[in-house]
Symmetry: C2
Subunit: 331 residues, 2 copies
């Protein structure tokens, strides 16, 4: 079928390559006409993917929304959460009626606190909206290495149809009926990955990182339960699977962002150094605010916010976390 990807970042491009491998006709929309023309001509995406990854024939890059979306039967929305409203707002006129939208973003909108699928639903009433998540680093997906992901949202029929359309022997899509949980996991794991990166930047080692992962998962569970997500989702590919790869893999950009902070750079310095968006940075503030409203404790998330936005030295943040009372693990 015809499949459009909105966004020419690393994961958008990787999913375009995966969809082409499955046999779809793929167009990728990007907001920057100069850069989309460069990718289209060079068959490389050097800003967001390693040089060795080639974009195969049968994928067209364009900055023209009508050209990108005409005749599309599936639209993958690969725009970072904080840019979603502005980017998709300008594309709505070009969307074919009723085409399903699959969000790939992993964050929460700063102003509204909304999940990406909620933003899309607001902007595009009448379209089924889904979210695809799970451990799926762009570079590996582009190379055709195996990845297991989950697809949530819309109704069971649409999920099943999209599962079929997006799966092959490399990328395996599992259905999940907990859209809320899948999106919250995606957003929260990025915050925890920043925390893990900060610990790494401080030179604290893998035991400390594993402790952060395990504590972070408890915070994710607590937040998810308070919002009504299913515990099984937090355990699954979208939760612990994605958290582990984001926190430990060398590919993880939220982790890498945290490493730079842990090594002593400021938020402004790290933001200026890369075009890649670390969604966890902005999402940490939304989660902290919402956790306060819900009356739940999120010490790791709070520490990330204070380090990023309030000048708390990373080393002191870690000491404070370590110095919480010795108690029974689950109290």
């Amino acid at each position: 079928v015809r499949l459009a990807v909105l966004g020419n970042g690393g994961f958008g491009t990787a999913m375009a390559i995966a969809a082409r491998r499955i046999g779809h006709d793929v167009t990728v929309w990007g907001h920057d006409p100069g850069y989309t023309a460069e990718i289209q001509a060079s068959r490389r995406n050097p800003r967001y993917l390693p040089a060795g990854i080639e974009v195969p024939p049968g994928i067209e890059f364009t900055a023209d929304p009508h050209r990108a979306l005409a005749g599309a039967a599936i639209v993958l929305v690969a725009v970072p959460t904080q840019n979603l409203r502005a980017a998709v707002g300008g594309l709505v006129v070009a969307l074919p009626a009723g085409v399903p939208l699959v969000s790939l973003a992993k964050g929460l909108e700063q102003q509204s606190g909304l999940r990406p699928s909620q933003v899309l639903q607001e902007l595009c009433p009448g379209h089924p909206v889904l979210a695809l998540s799970g451990p799926s680093h762009a570079e590996e997906v582009a190379r055709g290495l195996p990845a297991l992901v989950v697809l949530a949202g819309a109704g069971p029929e649409e999920r099943r149809a999209l599962q079929q359309a997006l799966s092959d022997q490399h990328l395996r899509v599992y259905r999940n009926d907990d859209l809320l949980g899948v999106e919250l996991c995606g957003a929260l794991k990025n915050v925890m990955a920043v925390a893990a990166g900060i610990a790494e930047g401080l030179g604290l080692g893998d035991n400390a990182k594993a402790a952060i992962l395990s504590r972070g998962l408890v915070e994710m569970m607590r937040f998810g339960q308070a919002e009504g997500a299913k515990p099984e989702t937090v355990w699954g590919l979208a939760g612990v699977g994605d958290l582990a790869v984001t926190a430990f893999s060398q590919h993880g950009r939220n982790r890498a962002f945290g490493v730079a902070i842990g090594e002593g750079r400021t938020l402004e310095q790290v933001l200026a150094a890369t075009p890649k968006v670390a969604e966890g940075v902005w999402t940490s503030r939304v989660v902290r605010r919402r956790a306060e409203e819900l009356g739940i404790e999120m010490p790791l998330c709070e520490a990330v916010c204070r380090v990023l936005f309030e000048g708390l030295p990373p080393g002191r943040a870690v000491r404070e976390l370590m110095e919480r009372d010795r108690k029974r693990e689950m109290e």
Copy 2:
């Protein structure tokens, strides 16, 4: 206090160094008189720890059980599960009456299927038996990098006293009242780490490894619930925390064992190449047998067994796992 460590492997030595840092008088028993004398003289443990790690003064290495155990108020048992019965059986006569035993092993005994604490309880009636577990790679513990671990077993008073005795600002001990769950997690995570290593050895990437971690955690949960463990334990430091570090960290010996298998070496070749024991290898068979008795599915554990002991090619094992029906994630 006087603290004895039974076993001079990597983790036993690391815990001796941690206990010495806390201020205890430490003796370490090893079964090999030549090698204990070598450590005692050189203040290095080259078989099991990197060359840069020095054993500080105030820790004595000996092969004499009476010398090691005389006056000990705490005994840490750092012997691999499959050697536990033979090693501790010979030391029982030297144990001070009623001294608490803290097991550090992470496996299940092949013949009996018993957990390490059950083996110790059988051998040493009248002694409180506990287990310490969680993400705690020896090298990092020895270096004084932060680690959060859990302590389970015995009664609440003994747990609290031992928590105090073993914690400082580097090594933080949390109490957990689910000894069964803590020990099952330690045993099972090693099996899953072998699986993750096999995938790595095959060159499958971090997304695949994260998928294995997430699926492995579901198997751990299923097994734990069938045996009566608490779900919170599987989520916690002893479960997901330890699994993540074992599967992703470069220190993980079960992971490294799996990598060698994934690269095409045989079980016999890998066993011959290192003195370090990968507990997951032997434990996989116990878990598979028990899972059959319990009537629960453990496809990852089964695949590990078939690859290690029945000649199933690792690549085919992974393909079989990937080709299971596409279905809802949690079905």
